[in-house]
Symmetry: C2
Subunit: 95 residues, 2 copies
DNA sequence: TAAAGTAGTTTATTTTATAAACCAAATACA
DNA sequence: TGTATTTGGTTTATAAAATAAACTACTTTA
């Protein structure tokens, strides 16, 4: 047995929720993610940055008409990391 | 959909590992838990205290001959909390 | 009997998460 | 028209958590 190391970047409630969301929808904008995860803008901004720095998501900043629009997209590396995390944590859940 | 709140007491790698272990073995001593979870004594001591304070485990301190022996046991409340956590995090894992 | 090992606890440091404050532009409204 | 208010965020400060390092107390071994 033995418990394997959980990716600390994914073992965070908000970042995990973001990744979970992006796994299913492919791309989502800041406001949508904020609503779905019920997070504050500040916290979300910080966590998206971390996921982006890790190369797990891509952040695209554009303008929608005159309003800024931040869109997030999961990367192949992010998909891999998420899949691995899911396998790893399962070991903790069913002993 | 929406992501439900994960019990912060269980959403910690070491505490989750401890609970996962105790769910399957019922009782285990400090040294055994330390080995199985590959944790340091200091970190384990702190995390066991938190689980105990939350009423998720019971800590029994005795002497085995002349050596101190700390034994941990999961409580019914701990079992419940663990089960709930497992259900809750599944929502994050399979979207 | 001095050195090393066992079984932990306590304290300090680092890392994370969260909250609060801030910014720039757009829109509503009196 | 100009002044609140809202939108869509970022940055900075604070609180909480995890981890590591240092320490305690006792035991065993050489």
């Amino acid at each position: 047995m033995g418990f394997n190391q959980l990716d600390p970047l994914l073992h965070s409630q908000l970042r995990l929720a973001v990744m979970s969301l992006l796994i299913s929808v492919e791309t989502a904008d800041f406001v949508f993610i904020k609503e779905q995860t019920e997070s504050t803008a500040g916290n979300l901004s910080v966590q998206l940055d971390k996921l982006s720095t890790a190369g797990y998501i891509e952040i695209i900043k554009q303008f929608e008409g005159k309003k800024p629009k931040t869109t997030c997209k999961i990367t192949p590396k992010g998909v891999d990391a998420f899949d691995t995390y899911v396998k790893e944590i399962q070991q903790y859940l069913k002993p």
